[in-house]
């Protein structure tokens, strides 16, 4: 309860509330598109786009001399887009592979961005302060108008995703089949990539160029652990994104002056780690437990069939044997005898003599029919 009150207190502050809503919206949009980016194995594209947006922001400032978020947004989107087209062009027309093209373009654009940024900082003009916050993000600079713009773009994105749900699913899973059905896959590709670029640029102000790609990948990677359905994955990914936005804002505004970018990313990475460990089915813990259970079942089955062998060498099924001889069986432990007793497969008397029950013999025969293993 105290924790929830803490949250309520925190977000009762107007500025924090605006920032919270902004980063949550951002989390939703990048969560939704991140699901597609990771499924298309394009998560690295986000990183390149984010870094490539920096020179766009710097140039937008140099030309206009103002720090209008809309102008920054346009500049960032334009240079992010240009980088994407360049990467696609290189991979399509040369022998260079996608990862190499991504790395090259990212470095070139980011380098130019940094050069321009240092140049701007040396300008004899007080107006330039704050441009460097784009590196790590400063959600405190979000205004109500920015959040409204985010809301509109986010809403538009989600409407497109819902309308073209079937098309995007088909295209992400099997683009060749989509093309054979007559869908314009070039259009779908450009639309989806544009939405991803948009989501990234949207988050630069709050999260920064360096970490923005994690905002795209982390919620999706976490969501994938919990479900095997695309619809659930997209919704979960959006929810994880929103949650990390809110948590990150809370941490950042509580411990004054910590950049929001890193706190948001740390929140979403915590969700990823938790999901990788504890998600049912795909999580590491679940996998480990499953493997242990299989191993134990296998060992138990083996011991049952060995016991059956011992029994069948005598005429009477109720012939008593000493527990001691079981110790020679591979993989035997006293715990097994207890388990077998609980399952009513074996009876053991006070003198440590055992025999198999009718149920036990039936079970052993079944195991034998299956070839000794389950």
């Amino acid at each position: 309860m105290e924790f929830i009150n803490f949250f309520i207190d925190l977000f009762s502050d107007y500025t924090t509330r605006i920032i919270g809503i902004g980063t949550a919206l951002l989390g939703i949009v990048s969560g939704v598109l991140g699901a597609y980016a990771t499924l298309k194995k394009q998560s690295l594209l986000g990183d390149a786009v984010a870094h490539a947006a920096l020179p766009g922001i710097a140039i937008a400032f140099l030309i206009t001399g103002t720090k209008n978020p809309i102008i920054f947004f346009a500049g960032a989107a334009l240079s992010g887009w240009l980088a994407t087209l360049w990467i696609m062009g290189i991979t399509r027309n040369t022998r260079i592979k996608t990862d190499t093209a991504l790395g090259m373009i990212l470095a070139v654009f980011f380098g130019i961005g940094l050069v321009l940024l240092t140049y701007i900082q040396k300008l004899p003009n007080a107006n330039q302060a704050g441009l460097e916050t784009f590196l790590f993000g400063q959600a405190a600079t979000l205004l109500k108008s920015d959040v409204i713009a985010m809301g509109i773009i986010g809403f538009g994105t989600i409407v497109i995703i819902i309308l073209l749900w079937k098309e995007f699913k088909l295209f992400t899973f099997d683009p060749q089949f989509a093309k054979s059905l007559g869908y314009n896959t070039r259009f779908l590709d450009i639309l989806l990539t544009s939405l991803i670029v948009l989501a990234i640029v949207l988050g630069l102000q709050a999260v920064g160029v360096v970490l923005m790609s994690a905002m795209l990948i982390a919620p999706a990677a976490a969501a994938r652990q919990w479900t095997d359905r695309l619809d659930r994955m997209v919704i979960l990914s959006a929810a994880f994104g929103a949650l990390s936005g809110l948590t990150g804002t809370a941490i950042s505004s509580y411990g004054a002056n910590i950049s929001t970018g890193p706190t948001i990313i740390l929140s979403s990475v915590s969700i990823v780690i938790f999901s990788f460990l504890f998600a049912p089915g795909r999580g590491l813990v679940a996998k480990f437990l499953m493997r242990e259970k299989n191993r134990r079942n296998l060992a138990l089955n083996k011991v049952i069939s060995e016991m059956y062998e011992i029994c069948s060498s005598h005429d009477s099924p109720t012939h008593q044997h000493s527990v001691a001889i079981l110790k020679t069986l591979p993989g035997f432990s006293y715990r097994m005898i207890r388990q077998l007793k609980e399952k009513d497969l074996v009876e053991v008397d006070s003198e440590k003599q055992w025999h198999m029950t009718a149920k036990g013999i039936k079970a052993a025969k079944q195991i034998k029919d299956l070839g000794g293993a389950e």
Partner: protein, 245 residues
Amino acid sequence: MNSKPALEINDLTVAYKFKPVLWDIDLDVPEGVMMAIVGPNGAGKSTLIKSILEIVKPIAGDIKILGKSYRNARSEVGYVPQKGSVDWDFPTTVKDVVLMGTYGNLGWIRRPGRLQKVEAEKALKKVGLSDFSHRQISQLSGGQQQRVFLARALVQDANIYFMDEPFQGVDATTEKAIINILKELRQRGKTVIVVHHDLQTVTDYFDWVTLLNVKKIASGPCTEVFNEKNLELTYGAKFTLAVDQ
């Protein structure tokens, strides 16, 4: 067998980044045959199918399917891509993948409804995967994956089918099941064109064959063109040793 061509290809040339993959292919396939496309690795077998389906853009050439351009014949075409061309860890179910076969006729934005779902169930039953309808696709074996793709193509309810190595990675039982479905398609008058790897089974499964190695070596009824001379031209001289056993 009537002589109307199901597939008519003239002067088809395809290149990937300057390297020719298919060179000046002419091909006529009559309606209602079951044809194998055979040839060594890199012979352009998959590329041939992909150019017919306009997935790959040729440098030159003219292709007619059932007498029409692909755009106009599309609703009569079914396609089974190579199993390895998709990520089987994609978060979706068997039924969802099969339903994708209906997306072509649905067109943009419209979602599959009850009718399409019934069709999908029927196709799944035909390939023996009714019980797997709600399984996640990563839980399938190679043979089951192949049958899911086949079911998806059956849902397309086409007149001509193109299949890229539908027998790849399947066991003998599944292979038999698949071939029975293909034979049934032919009995219903459909044309079935299959990229095939196992030369031993060509004459058992197919009545028509195209031998391909960048250029078309031969094409026609198995009884006429599937002979040692053409196989040698397709696979090279060392080849005969490998088959004659």
